[in-house]
């Protein structure tokens, strides 16, 4: 018989959990790391990743991807859809009414078991759509990338 694992409550877990609660901005692990660091300056990025993994495993939060390679985390568990702005990159929670229900019957008939479905809508958000500010993807902030190649060949 295998000894059951008893998860522990650590300050890191507590701070990370509360940092995401009610956050509808769909932060990345790095976003969360920077935020949590203000409270626990010695926390490591590895711990943030491990803790997020655990929260996902325990069903507290969702891990989502929006056509990028970086995972985003979402504390909202109720069914909702996402709007991804092609201009500024922001992801917004939205709710699209399905006038009647979508018809999964044919899929079920074909032998599929359906566990969940997600709807992602792409376009231009209210803010970017407003004339005036041309506004372009704000992601990728930080220092002006001094990182260049260092080889001399």
């Amino acid at each position: 018989m295998e000894r059951a694992i008893r998860p522990r409550t650590t300050p890191q877990l507590t701070v990370i959990s509360t940092a995401i609660q009610g956050d509808h901005s769909h932060p990345s692990a790095e976003d969360i790391y920077l935020r949590v660091r203000k409270v626990l300056p010695r926390i490591s990025l590895g711990t943030v990743y491990r803790t997020l993994q655990r929260l996902v495993r325990e069903g507290t939060i969702q891990m989502l991807f929006f056509g990028e390679r970086t995972a985003r985390y979402d504390p909202t568990l109720e069914e909702h859809d996402h709007f991804i702005c092609q201009q500024c990159g922001r992801v917004e929670d939205v709710r699209v009414e399905r006038e009647q229900q979508m018809d999964f019957a044919s899929l079920v008939r074909a032998g599929f078991t359906i566990a969940a479905h997600s709807l992602a809508i792409r376009g231009v958000c209210q803010l970017c759509g407003r004339p005036g500010e041309p506004r372009r993807r704000p992601r990728r902030t930080g220092p002006p990338v001094p990182t260049k190649r260092e080889r001399t060949h």
Copy 2:
């Protein structure tokens, strides 16, 4: 005035294009690389990535993500949905009837401009659902991972 770029037709482009045509298995760049290598053994993975980028840019194929970090490529341009099997990882093209249309009106009213939307359905596919074979994610094939850490510390 800037000199226009005239793309060229190379054997690599031709072989990669035909390799993806009609392929509904949503192959990754690596999958395509292995396939193309049988015809052009000296092709590099870099060229495969660059060529796929070009095909996406030119609108010949689509690049998709399904909750993994690896991009998948899809030559089907018509509107269709995707079913992702949580057990074997396969991605299948499906079509879910929207009984009536989905109601984007409220989003448009709120100032969003809608360019596209995608529906992903997760669950267990016909094959995995059939009793008998317990079947588990076949992805990550190849040699038994001899790659271990090499540090001695």
